[in-house]
């Protein structure tokens, strides 16, 4: 799936800058460990289209990407992070109160 210039993979998103989840590239992909679709697994962690994420850290040697979602932090394998298409979040004033609270 090609990524428009304004949209990037989460794996490439700058650390500390809020981004909005725009799309999940391979949302039908099944999890080999559990049977749920990728989109369902992500939804269970609150990673649904439209949510604001803050990339916090990329672990070295291809380790997971840690993102902030509200008050929670979620670690995502790089493979997963590459499936998430994001773009820069609008001005914080445009976010919902709960998103600002985090």
């Amino acid at each position: 799936m090609s990524v428009p210039a304004t949209e990037i993979q989460l794996d490439d998103a700058p650390i500390g800058r809020p981004v909005v989840l725009v799309a999940i590239a391979d949302e039908e992909r099944a999890n080999p460990g559990g049977g749920l679709r990728l989109a369902d697994q992500l939804a269970a962690e609150g990673l649904v289209v439209g949510v604001v994420l803050v990339p916090e850290r990329r672990l070295p040697l291809g380790g997971p990407v840690v993102v902030g979602v509200g008050r929670a932090r979620v670690a995502l394998a790089r493979d997963i992070a590459r499936q998430l298409v994001v773009r820069a979040a609008p001005d914080p004033a445009g976010l919902t109160p709960s998103e600002n609270a985090s």
């Binding site: 979620v74 394998a77 109160p97 609270a101």
Partner: protein, 669 residues
């Protein structure tokens, strides 16, 4: 936007003679303090693991609430109602198996946006719900206040601020749930009429329309009394059956069936409602708390990796140091008190000396083995593991080591159990419950059985250091480590399936509550004793009978071709290895004892009848081969008999293959 209570549903499919005790099911996301709240409400800790695949049922306890008996059921933490628990069972199936009359949804008062979706999903089932806005103390410390009145309006359900740790509000929440549960029981028993309500529309029109159509189809199945499928989706059979039985509403079944469509809407509502009910008090600190900073440090390469190394080494050293001291004390106490008494009773009750001695193998030595290994090492490990779990640090370790362990098909969560295995394999195998899939548990357990525990480390050191020196002992450990790594890589190739890429919510770092840690550790230890003690005692008696009747010597006929022919070891070494199945540390003591019986007093020192090369092969084969009886028991309990036996067979094959090759390289066979 406001949602009414769920549509009224008919009486549940109560079993004949079912009593009128309401059942309250506790449901919540992982790490929300649900089990602590359960413990606070019932006075007893019960483990319901957050790791799918490890929990087969919730913990149920009957308590008295304002003079009324009520059953509380603690279920494992879940992210959604459709998330799998175990191999194929969705969480909702486990929830409904508990036959709840009311659901007590435990949510994080400081992070309602992430917890409202699960509350909505529970409410959609058509069962009454009560919200316990838990961890209130933590939220308030962060300057977060929750408008419970408004949230109650939005969810159309009672909302109570609670803190499982301090007990704040727990009784009120349980009382509210009991009232709703009692009302439903009255409906079920026909002494009260169901309250019919019209469900408000929470979700966008398209989603509501799809839910209505699906509910109508499931409802028509109900009216026909059938449990047939609406379409090809596998779970509609069981959903139709549940609607037919009145366990959930047709709308509830439809929202389960259409979870992929409804869940994103629940998250949108969660964010919206959280914005309406959560406020930060003026002047509250916006900087990160110490716990939040610790959480960030714990996953950074610096200082996260040195911290991880220090903590894991600390756990290992603490387990070995405390284990060694406690083991010595318990052994002394047992030999001074219980052992003489048992011997006296057995001698008086069993006239046959051979049978009497065999019984003592189990009742005296077998029980002592459990006490000398179980309490000192396993209980100590469980306390340390519970401390790490309660602090929230385990998920940080999982993230930090995920990439490295990924080469073995494992996630980072396995690092703690594997390190613990160097103390004792048994708690390490139980520790794999932290893992998220059966494949990971199988791979981790296999790696654990090949990891030398303290007893096997003692055998390697005891066999080689006094007779061959430190160099050969280090070389033996190098060979064992290489075999373990090779075994892990091979298992990753052979065990079907792929490694699940990590999607893991990091638990917040918290100060552990000692009472909670103690209860959790003791609960796990009790489970271990119940499982392992009978096997240990019976296994010891069987081995005792073999020894006392002399039948053990006939084993040499079977073992010699392998022991003598392939490994180049003396005949007596095979018997010692068989006995080491009981306790690995016996491999050395018994080798000397049996050698005296077979070869005379001159064989008291194993160095007198075995060459350095033979000692090297014996040490490696003992360290890698067949797990001890307690480990086999743990493997059987956790993974099933077939998997346990397959793993044991694989370790024997690897040990014998490597031992034979080493014997040929060093020229002893």
């Amino acid at each position: 936007m406001n949602c009414s209570p769920a549509d009224a549903i008919g009486p549940a499919d109560a079993a004949p003679g079912a009593d009128a005790v309401p059942t309250i099911a506790l449901v919540g996301r992982p790490n929300v303090g649900k089990s602590t709240l359960f413990a606070r409400a019932t006075g007893r800790y019960a483990e319901a693991s957050n790791a799918p695949g490890t929990t087969v049922g919730g913990a149920r306890r009957r308590v008295d609430v304002a003079g009324r008996a009520v059953d509380l059921v603690d279920l494992p933490g879940t992210l959604t109602l459709t998330a799998p628990v175990g191999e194929d069972t969705p969480f909702w199936s486990m929830l409904l198996d508990a036959r709840p009359d009311v659901i007590l949804v435990v949510a994080d008062a400081g992070d309602m946006a992430r917890h409202i979706p699960l509350a909505l999903a529970c409410r959609d089932l058509g069962l009454p719900i009560v919200i316990a806005a838990n961890l209130t103390d933590e939220a308030e410390a962060r300057g977060i206040t929750l408008d419970t009145g408004r949230l109650s309006q939005l969810l159309a359900a009672p909302v109570h601020r609670t803190s499982g740790r301090s007990g704040l509000g727990v009784a009120d929440a349980v009382r509210a749930a009991t009232r709703l549960g009692a009302r439903r029981v009255a409906v079920r028993s026909g002494t009260s009429s169901p309250r019919s309500t019209i469900p408000a529309r929470c979700y966008p029109g398209g989603v509501e329309g799809a839910v209505d159509r699906c509910a109508a189809e499931l409802g028509s199945l109900r009216s026909l009394g059938a449990a047939a499928a609406v379409d090809d989706t596998p779970d509609t059979d069981s959903l139709g059956g549940l609607v037919s039985a009145g366990a959930i509403s047709a709308r509830g079944a439809a929202t389960l069936h259409l979870a992929a469509m409804v869940d994103p809407e629940r998250w949108a509502i969660g964010r919206l409602w959280a914005g309406q009910v959560v406020a930060r008090t003026a002047g509250a600190a916006t900087s990160r708390s110490l716990a939040e900073r610790l959480g960030a440090w714990s996953i950074a390469p610096w200082p996260g990796i040195p911290l991880f190394v220090a903590i894991t080494l600390g756990v290992l050293l603490a387990m070995m140091a405390m284990g060694s001291v406690l083991s010595g004390l318990l052994t002394m106490a047992w030999q001074a008190t219980a052992s003489p008494a048992i011997k006296t009773v057995v001698a008086a009750a069993v006239p046959n000396a051979t049978v009497g001695h065999a019984l003592l193998w189990g009742l005296d030595d077998g029980v002592l083995s459990m006490l000398a290994v179980g309490i000192p090492y396993i209980l100590t490990f469980y306390v340390l593991l519970a401390l790490l779990e309660d602090s929230g640090y385990l998920t940080s370790i999982a993230v930090l080591t995920d990439r490295v362990l990924g080469t073995l098909g494992l996630s980072g969560r396995v690092s703690i159990p594997i390190l613990a295995a160097t103390g004792c394999n048994v708690p390490a195998i139980y520790g794999t419950r932290l893992l998220t899939s059966r494949r990971e548990r199988v791979l981790a357990s296999f790696l654990i059985t090949m990891t030398p525990c303290s007893a096997r480390i003692a055998v390697v050191c005891g066999a080689l250091v006094p007779f061959a020196g430190v160099g050969p002992a280090l070389a033996a450990f190098g060979v064992i480590a290489s075999l373990t790594l090779a075994g892990g890589l091979l298992a990753n190739k052979l065990v079907p399936g792929r490694q699940a890429p990590v999607i893991l919510e990091l638990a917040p770092i918290r100060r552990p509550v000692l009472g909670h840690v103690a209860r959790k550790a003791w609960w796990r230890f009790e489970s271990f004793i119940r499982t392992a003690m009978p096997i240990m005692v019976v296994g010891s008696i069987v081995l005792g009978l073999l020894y006392e009747t002399g039948a053990i010597w006939r084993l040499t006929v079977v073992l010699d071709p392998v022991m003598v022919g392939w490994l180049g070891l003396p005949s007596v070494a095979g018997i010692a290895l068989v006995f080491a199945f009981l306790r690995k540390e016996l491999a050395l003591q018994l080798l000397a004892t049996l050698a005296i019986v077979q070869l005379g007093q001159g064989a008291a020192s194993i160095g007198s009848f075995m060459s350095h090369g033979q000692l090297f092969v014996y040490a490696v084969v003992t360290a890698v081969s067949f797990p001890c009886i307690a480990t086999l028991s743990a493997l059987t309990s956790e993974l099933g008999r077939r998997t346990a036996l397959a793993m044991s067979g694989a370790t024997i094959a690897i040990a014998l293959l490597a031992g034979g090759l080493i014997a040929r390289v060093i020229g002893i066979a």
